[in-house]
């Protein structure tokens, strides 16, 4: 049998890639800021991006008005902080980052329009943005058509992989599997009640959760969805009381969240007693602000990042974040993921030695970030991040205490086999 030549080619490029990765630590050890003079604009920018001898333009594309502004505000703040810090260190290839901020206004067609504006008119070298899957799906064709680079921060349902997107949040399996394993092993959970808001992310996540629960030979006693913005959960709470599951697995989002947890407490279900235990993937520290720590205390959340994470990177990050945005601010999982975007882009540009999108695409897999607040992350070939999964225990003050983390980085698997 003849050997497939493309395979050989592949292994060669992969080998040179590995060599490239190995060289990175050496580069960073020198610690010298890169000088723009060493990287003439004509060579680092061959495709007409908005790069001059001393600046480079990027885009920030989130909703600062409309219903999603609640969630996306944190991401905007994190991205601005990262950009400011990178500039203070001398910028990217010696060029200061200038950002152009556009408002997606919680409206998906607007997202697409603004993305086009950022790429076509402003020639943004990279765009940090989007939050909901709907907005990402709306801008995806734009980024692929005009060959732009999007850094997308939210944990999401997976089932997507685009060369033009770096997904800095977790895809569904990274968030769900470890958490369920933990609750089964540590808390002896046998039965689950799945609950969610009625749209793609909760439904896909619950589907994966259900498959995993059933694989473990355990029982799902109920699965329910409520329209976005639903505010009356008394009936489902009654059903939960009747079915007596060990775990309520809740993926309720937005304003519904507040209603759900307040009504759960009012109905006499004390989460601290863990009967039933509540496990969620949709409530970060940000959401607890609205829910109220006293209504959430005792619940468990599966995330990759919590503000209370105890490591030096995170301490510095939290301090810088509060210095820039005020002491009262809280930092949720997505905010941290958004913070990674500009840093990962910087690393890719420096590794490629170029701002060209195609070179960044090729350089991205394998890039690692040892300074990430969540610890250490690395970009997988599927453009998602290797990261750890953690379980947090909600406290009265609205913070989570980390009670579990996976010992290894979890491999991102946006198209999990056997879970679809």
């Amino acid at each position: 049998m003849k050997e497939d030549p493309s395979k050989n080619l592949m292994s060669v490029t992969r080998r040179s890639l590995l060599a490239g990765i190995a060289a990175i630590p050496l580069l960073s050890i020198t610690g010298m800021p890169l000088l723009a003079a060493d990287y003439p604009t004509a060579t680092v920018n061959t495709t007409g991006l908005a790069v001059t001898d001393d600046t480079v333009k990027v885009g920030i594309l989130h909703s600062v008005t409309g219903t999603m502004a609640i969630s996306e505000t944190g991401s905007v703040q994190a991205e601005k902080l990262a950009i400011e810090q990178i500039n203070a260190m001398g910028g990217v290839l010696g060029r200061k980052i200038e950002f152009i901020q556009e408002d997606g206004a919680s409206d998906w067609p607007t997202f697409a329009e603004k993305a086009k504006k950022l790429l076509v008119q402003d020639k943004a070298a990279a765009v940090f943005g989007c939050w909901t899957s709907a907005s990402r799906k709306a801008v995806l064709p734009v980024f692929e058509q005009y060959n732009g680079m999007l850094y997308y921060p939210t944990f999401y349902e997976g089932l997507e992989e685009s060369p033009n997107v770096i997904y800095t949040g977790q895809e569904a399996t990274q968030q769900i599997l470890a958490g369920i394993d933990w609750v089964v092993k540590e808390k002896g959970a046998k039965s689950f009640y799945l609950l969610g808001s009625d749209y793609i992310w909760p439904r896909t996540s619950n589907k994966i959760a259900r498959k995993h629960i059933e694989k473990l030979g355990l029982e799902v006693v109920g699965e329910e969805y409520y329209p976005l913005g639903h505010t009356q959960f008394n009936s489902v709470i009654n059903k939960i009381k009747l079915k007596k599951p060990d775990v309520i697995y809740a993926i309720v989002v937005g304003g519904s969240n507040v209603a759900f947890y307040k009504q759960l407490k009012a109905a006499g279900i004390d989460l601290a007693k863990e009967k039933p235990l509540l496990l969620t993937i949709s409530v970060t520290e940000d959401e607890i602000l609205g829910i109220g720590g006293e209504n959430m205390a005792g619940a468990y959340a599966m995330m990759k990042y919590f503000q209370s994470l105890d490591n030096d990177n995170n301490k510095a990050f939290v301090e810088a974040f509060k210095k820039m945005w005020g002491d009262d601010i809280v930092i949720g999982d997505v905010t941290q993921a958004a913070y990674l975007g500009p840093w990962l882009w910087k690393a890719a540009v420096e590794k490629a030695g170029s701002f060209d999108i195609d070179k960044i695409k090729a350089a991205s897999p394998g890039i690692e970030l040892t300074t990430a607040p969540e610890g250490y992350v690395k970009i997988h070939e599927n453009h998602h991040l290797w990261s750890k999964a953690r379980v947090g225990h909600a406290q009265l003050d609205g913070q989570y205490k980390v009670v579990y983390e996976t010992s290894e980085l979890m491999e991102p698997d946006p198209f999990p086999e056997g879970y679809q």
Partner: protein, 308 residues
């Protein structure tokens, strides 16, 4: 045994579901009353109703904040003062809006629709600029968040009882005012025949202004009460607006009894169906039923005979 459940379990569930239905009913009545007054008595479709509710919620938030900072002793009872202030704030804003906007549009109902929708967008952005885009947490006194355990299974939420009591109080108050007071008579007179009411010496402009303010004020109280069961954010008003219109239109514009009857029907139907099927399906069926009935009876459940 009934189905998978024992008899005891079944009766407790029946009781708790009954209560869930009643508490949904009172929520519906509370949010729809203000709109029903404005829509029914003045023919103005107030798309900014939800934002008037959220104004009440934000006033409650401010009160809880101020009270915990300055006079923590009063914390357990601050909520009552907050509701009064919420009424005052929404009432004043309502009067202002009527004076600045609505009174110029009485003969153009479709334009009021647009104008109040615009107003709702403006108010949302104002809330966002003032209070931030994130939801705010309203801290409630502990006694309001617990539940009364009647048996092992039956637990009645106190906030549900509270909303229910408040709804009865306000509905009764509105009824008294409309049916017995001089102001109520004037409102009805203006509704039935504006020109004649003016001719017998009723200041119709003043009546309009106060009616609009009153409707908004009640929305403010509703908003304050809903901090117990829902979220407070710039766009939270939008969560209630659809149900509110549904209740008012289904009940028949112009009839407060109709509003109450329709709130009862919709809430019972929805909460019963939610128990037997998933939430989204229950909503679909409720809406389908309402659409079906409105096709047969476009004027809604109850109507007043009005001479135009």
């Amino acid at each position: 045994m009934i189905g998978d459940y024992t008899f005891g379990e079944f009766t407790s569930i029946l009781a708790m579901q009954g209560f869930a239905g009643l508490s949904l009913f009172s929520v519906f009545v509370l949010m729809a009353l203000g709109l029903a007054i404005i829509f029914g008595q003045m023919g103005v479709i107030n798309m900014a109703h939800g934002e008037f509710m959220i104004l009440g919620a934000y006033v409650t938030y401010l009160c809880s904040h101020l009270v915990t900072t300055y006079v923590p002793v009063l914390f357990p009872v601050y909520f009552f003062a907050a509701m009064v202030l919420a009424f005052c704030a929404s009432f004043s804003l309502g009067v202002l809006v009527e004076w600045a906007l609505i009174r110029h549009l009485y003969r153009r109902p479709l334009d009021t629709l647009l104008a109040t929708w615009g107003l709702s967008l403006i108010l949302q952005q104002v809330y966002r600029s003032v209070f931030g885009a994130r939801e705010v947490g309203v801290t409630l006194p502990d006694w309001m968040m617990g539940s009364v355990a009647l048996t092992d299974m039956i637990e009645i939420p106190i906030n549900g009882l509270f909303v229910m009591g408040l709804t009865i109080l306000i509905a009764f108050g509105v009824y008294l005012m409309m049916a017995r007071s001089t102001f109520g008579k004037q409102v009805r007179a203006v509704l039935q025949n504006r020109v004649m009411a003016g001719a017998v010496g009723i200041n119709t402009k003043r009546v309009d202004r106060l009616t609009f303010g009153l409707g908004c004020g009640i929305a403010g109280i509703a908003g304050a009460a809903f901090t117990m069961i829902g979220s407070t954010g710039p766009t939270a008003g939008q969560l209630y607006i659809v149900d509110t219109f549904l209740v008012v239109v289904f009940g028949g514009a112009g009839s407060l009894i109709g509003t109450i009857a329709s709130a009862f029907t919709i809430s019972q139907a929805q909460s019963t169906m939610e128990f037997f099927m998933s939430g989204s399906m229950a909503k679909v069926l409720t809406l389908l039923t309402v659409v079906g009935i409105l096709m047969l009876r476009p004027q809604g459940l109850f109507t007043l005979n009005i001479r135009r």
